[in-house]
Symmetry: C2
Subunit: 240 residues, 2 copies
DNA sequence: AAGTGGTCTAGACCACGCG
DNA sequence: GCGTGGTCTAGACCACTTG
């Protein structure tokens, strides 16, 4: 039911994670893969491009596609990922507490970032994330009501993204993120177990739908000692 | 001298940055672009894919390619970028001081991460980066000597990457990065103007060549108030 | 010389949005 | 129904690596 190139991508990624293809192995050549999967070369190349992008393989002209070591760090957790998905990927389980859930006309400082109409309402959702019984993260979400008519405690407790994509069928496309370190606020002290820390890591993100509409602003505030951001990046070869 | 699809990508990106195509404009359709540039559709699609990837446009089936707002945050500075390139992109100039430049057998804690032979030598380069006359960043680079025979003060003062790619012709391919916040060390105090801060943002990266050889480990230590990391990320549609 | 990936082309059919 | 982007195919030629 997926496309061919996605199916093949998943298949190969699975075999790399399985250890069927090991670090520094060569994948079968594009020619062989064509025959194995009975598809055209272009389709194979699409699959391999995603593998390259995601850090699974490195191609070399004249040689082939080498499998990379995907375990030097924990695997990248960047991208647009929900907290629930993140937990699942890391094999840990976290606890979410919904602190605030209300539909309001936003405060000034939120208002300008969200680009909303004068009196447009947004859902304001504050949640804390607990690890080992300590409140480590404060997530402040602002979601335009015009896209999400109704929100309940249970949806916020479980997963906003699951509801938005699964039930409302909205298509989340991309996000712009910014990471900074800032002094703790009274609010942070109220919601988080900060111990002696007087700074928090703040991840601000604007999330957009496929039709390019901004639909969410999130401020995710982390206790510094528990914050890790892992990324895989390719060197840009484009000459400007 | 570049490829067609890269040339077209650069051309379109330039026109978006110029403001010739504005936010929320539609680009010409793939069909029109084919005619405009006299190339096949596949070539156009390759160019558009890079634009999509980099956050310049958003495609919509049945509609076209919309130009995105590239100024909501400063433009992404993620990826594998040298300090000099970063300064150029941000239109600021920074000052680099070379504090240490020596070829040594690395300390134990570096040694294990670098995956080197028992007695292999690495270049150890410590540099501080000054903004507005304050030392804000401490960059600790460890570079395998087998790839870079000779390093001089001037090279480190100017740009390591420029030398490595331009003069040595090594191909930098990708990097794995990790961002954390940690307590300051004596070393940090020695090299940085920390003011009252007692934590630093630490960006650790392992940089690899096209032949998948690890050739550099970098620890970049930032004073928290001056640290910003901006990223553009697309939602992963792949079902696993 | 043979095999690998990189670029480019031409054409087909499909799914989606809109009038 | 038409134009849009999305997928897939088949084939050509090139650049690079290896024996």
């Amino acid at each position: 039911m997926n496309n061919k190139y996605i199916t093949i991508y998943n298949d190969l990624a699975e075999q790399i994670k399985n250890g069927y293809y090991k670090t520094n192995d060569l994948l079968p050549s594009e020619n062989e893969l064509m025959k194995m999967y009975n598809v055209s070369r272009d389709t194979i190349r699409k699959s391999l491009n995603i593998l390259t992008q995601e850090g699974y393989i490195q191609k070399a002209q004249g040689k082939g596609s080498f499998v990379l070591d995907i375990n030097r760090f924990a695997f990248p957790v960047s991208g647009v990922v929900s907290f629930k998905e993140l937990g699942k990927r890391l094999g840990k389980s976290f606890d979410t507490d919904v602190k605030i859930l209300e539909c309001v006309i936003p405060e000034k400082n939120i208002y300008k970032g969200l680009n909303v109409e004068k009196n447009e309402k947004v859902w304001k959702v504050f949640r804390t994330r607990k690890i080992d019984n300590e409140n480590i993260i404060l997530d402040k979400d602002y979601i335009l009501q015009k896209f999400v008519n109704n929100l309940t405690y249970d949806i916020c407790k479980n997963s906003l993204y699951e509801y938005i994509e699964g039930n409302l069928n909205l298509k989340i496309a991309y996000a712009k993120k910014q990471i900074t370190v800032e002094k703790v606020t009274e609010e942070d002290k109220q919601y988080l177990d900060l111990n002696e820390y007087d700074t928090v890591v703040v991840v601000r993100s604007y999330t957009y739908l496929e039709d390019t509409n901004l639909f969410q602003y999130t401020e995710s505030r982390h206790r510094p000692d528990k914050f890790v951001f892992v990324d895989f990046a390719r060197r840009n070869k484009i000459k400007t």
